[in-house]
């Protein structure tokens, strides 16, 4: 992804949702453990274009962090799926 014309920039004020702040914090913490910004960006750039366009900024970040954790063998996809089911049930 990248290099495509995006038209005019619309500057709008917005506040961050709590989950977005948490993703940011997680990103800083993982950075301290050696997950570089380049590693995260590689995962973001690997997103299929449709997914990239559909996701918000912090959705792309959390996907990148998750990919890094899976690729590094820190969590498994099975553990992730189990946790996501739990969170969905909790509502």
């Amino acid at each position: 992804m990248g290099g495509q014309r995006a038209g005019k920039v619309k500057p709008t004020e917005h506040d961050y949702a709590d989950w977005e702040r948490r993703v940011d914090a997680l990103s800083v913490l993982m950075g301290g453990k050696g997950v570089t910004v380049d590693e995260r960006r590689r995962h973001i750039e690997a997103l299929p274009p449709e997914a990239y366009d559909k996701m918000s900024y912090y959705e792309r970040w959390i996907v990148a962090l998750t990919q890094a954790l899976i690729q590094r063998g820190i969590i498994t996809t099975e553990e992730l799926a189990r946790k996501m089911t739990q969170v969905e049930r909790r509502g």
Partner: protein, 81 residues
């Protein structure tokens, strides 16, 4: 600027293929392409601040013709103009 490199290249697309001049040497830092692949990025690569003319970068640039855009680019992402 190399126009279509492979790998995790951080050079913005809008500047690829354009010519600029070296404004300063920023030092040497681990190679982002290697860091992106979970390797150590060593040996460190020289990083340059490169100056481009805005009017050369944007076909319909309406600002001051003396305006510049400066971008920090690693040596191995540059080629001699």
């Amino acid at each position: 600027m190399k126009a279509y490199p492979l790998g995790h290249v951080r050079t913005p697309y809008y500047i690829r293929g354009h010519s600029g001049v070296i404004e300063r040497v920023c030092g040497s830092f681990p190679n982002p392409e290697e860091l992106a692949q979970m390797r150590d990025g060593l040996p460190a690569q020289p990083l340059y601040r490169v100056r481009f003319m805005q009017k050369d970068v944007w076909p319909d640039y309406g600002g001051n013709p003396a305006d510049v855009v400066e971008i920090e680019i690693y040596q191995h992402w540059l080629e001699k103009a």
